[in-house]
Amino acid sequence: MEVKGLKKYFPIRKGFFNKIVSFNKSVNGVDFNIKKGESVGLVGESGSGKTTLGRCIVRLYESTEGSIKFNINGQMIDLTKVSQREMKSIRKHFQMLFQDVYSSLDSRMRVVDIVTEPMAIHKIGTQKERIDRAKELMESVGLSANDIRKYPHQFSGGQRQRIGITRALSINPDFIVCDEPVSALDVSVQAQILNLLLDLRNEFNLSYLFIAHDLGVVKYMSDRIIVMYLGKIVEIASSEDIYENPRHPYTEALLAAISKYKAGSSRDILLKGNIPDPSNPPSGCVLQTRCAYVKDLCKEVIPDLEPITEKPNAFVACHFHKELNLNCYS
């Protein structure tokens, strides 16, 4: 999958005639690619545009600009160009997992209906085959097939996320966008779900775009990590490299904010204040209002996302990434 120059602006309307006064630039020109079988992590604070990007990719939002090319049986198809009708057949190649396991399952449907609905929509198999597959999948995600006639409210948070996973897997997708699938769960259950997602990836050769705000969780799930801030990608690097050798001040700040799990420890606070208003991003570098290393150049010129010479597939958007000596995770 290849994403190029993707932008998503939400109009801000005001006044009696709902005139569009400005745009909320949630995703403001991002480029990246995901290879088959690869798992890519996407991190950033709330308001950095991670979820919007994830939703644009599965076309739950119409993108404003740019292209999303998806390899379907050897053909690169631009998802932003295809019609709604064609989209329906393409949709079965990708699925999404949501953060809120309470609102993403219809409370009036039984598990069997929730899990078989995607197959019914894509006209896969007969009713009986669909139910058999649902039972089989439920067992493979660690649910009991006997629970198939229960309603979502009869399950715990972790079990609900498993139902969400079963639903996503039912149509055999190649690619799943996981939008913070574990942030609402307890630590012990989090570990269960993360392990399950890793196992399923090997079993079904899936690609993931794994969205999270916690760099600790992402490490487990990803081969590569994309760091996003205010609608822009600020750094891309392999998941080993990014913790040992961060190149962007924002990545450094996120690493410093990971808790150390020691008695009497404290965390360094490297970013001051809040994320700026995305409808009116700062001039120059997006981070300049909060960056500890800010210089005059950062306030005027927008840094490009440039490749790192010594590392393949690593990119950073900072004017001074060569000069800065940033702290790694300790």
């Binding site: 604070e45 570990a191 392990n195 150390k260 606070i269």
Partner: protein, 334 residues
């Protein structure tokens, strides 16, 4: 522990919920003390009774289905008198004087706990004027100071803003400002940073620690995140299904966790340096209506023995480190 240093002494507290399906023992025989100026962490998964324990200190547990079955909550006032909160009526004058004034609470979801149709100033001044006999002008001054204390810039302007105009971190700061406006002796923080980003979380935790030292108050920190416990607390209790399973100083617990549940909690967090699969606790917190007869952790425990199924363990003291697990019994109580 010197007796006169204790602020809150909870003894054998039990809160049961009487509902149609039966009795849920949300809190079942809990003992702990909070010393003056110290902070106590309460850690456990959701559904372990952490929040109910905290709410019962203010008699704010859900009523009428939730009832304090037994036990005492002794609160020591400055003069050295002690009152038993558990014996007070839920709307009595005495408990209303404690709430907000002596014991204040901040909650997980700052958007839910602020009133959306009142501005920040009105909400702050409401608390101040309820507990202190001051006129509007003085209350306004105290409110501005309270906002300054939580490091909100331009407090006069913020006083006129509404909750929806503030970011998540800002709202939590306002909550802290309201909680601290009457200089409470105990601050109960119920997962104050769970809904926030990691970067903001670090800032808010630092703010709470700084203010705790500055005002010399005690704190009860409820969280499921052991990282937060490590940073914020002096002592810690680990709760599982309404019971305390381990109790120690934070340093000791982090150096050497004893209970299998505590060990499992430590192991299941994602660690950056280690490779491979995460270890998880099998299963989930048991159904509250059908609790195991023996140790409540037995069905999920990896080192369970025969005795664990039959009899619930008492506390074994390993020198200022209490643990409720048969593994540490040394034959005692079997």
């Amino acid at each position: 522990m010197e007796e006169n240093n204790v602020l809150v002494d909870v003894r054998d507290l039990a809160v049961y919920f009487h509902i149609e399906q039966g009795i849920v023992k949300a809190v079942d025989g809990v003992n702990f003390k909070i010393e003056k100026g110290k902070s106590l962490g309460v850690v456990g998964e959701s559904g372990c009774g952490k929040t109910i324990t905290a709410l019962s200190l203010l008699l704010l547990h859900p009523q009428p289905e939730g009832r304090i079955e037994k036990g005492n909550i002794f609160f020591y006032s400055d003069s050295g008198d002690r009152i038993d909160i558990a014996k007070l009526g839920i709307n009595s004058k005495q408990i209303r004087q404690r709430r907000g004034n002596d014991i204040a609470m901040i909650f997980q979801e700052p958007m839910m706990s602020l009133n959306p149709v009142l501005n920040i100033g009105q909400q702050l001044m409401e608390t101040i004027r309820l507990h202190q006999k001051v006129d509007k002008k003085t209350a306004n001054k105290i409110a501005v100071e309270a906002l300054e204390r939580v490091r909100i810039s331009a407090p006069e302007r913020r006083m006129k803003e509404y909750p929806f105009q503030l970011s998540g971190g800002m709202r939590q700061r306002v909550m802290i400002a309201i909680a601290l406006s009457c200089n409470p002796k105990l601050l109960i923080a119920d997962e104050p940073t769970t809904a926030l980003d990691v970067t903001i979380e670090a800032e808010i935790l630092k703010l709470i620690t700084d203010l705790q030292k500055e005002l010399g108050m005690s704190m009860m920190m409820i969280t499921h995140d052991l990282g937060v416990i490590g940073e914020m607390t002096d002592d810690v209790v680990v709760m599982y299904v309404g019971k305390i399973v381990e109790k120690a100083s934070t340093k000791r617990l982090f150096d050497e966790p004893l209970h299998p549940y505590t060990k499992a909690l430590f192991k299941s967090r994602p660690e950056i340096r280690t490779q491979g699969r995460l270890s998880s606790i099998k299963g989930s917190v048991p159904n509250p209506y059908m609790q195991p007869k023996g140790c409540s952790f037995e069905p999920r425990c990896e080192v369970a023995m025969d005795i664990c199924k039959k009899k619930a363990p008492g506390f074994f003291d390993l020198g200022e480190h209490l643990v409720s697990c048969w593994k540490y019994s040394d034959g005692e109580g079997l």
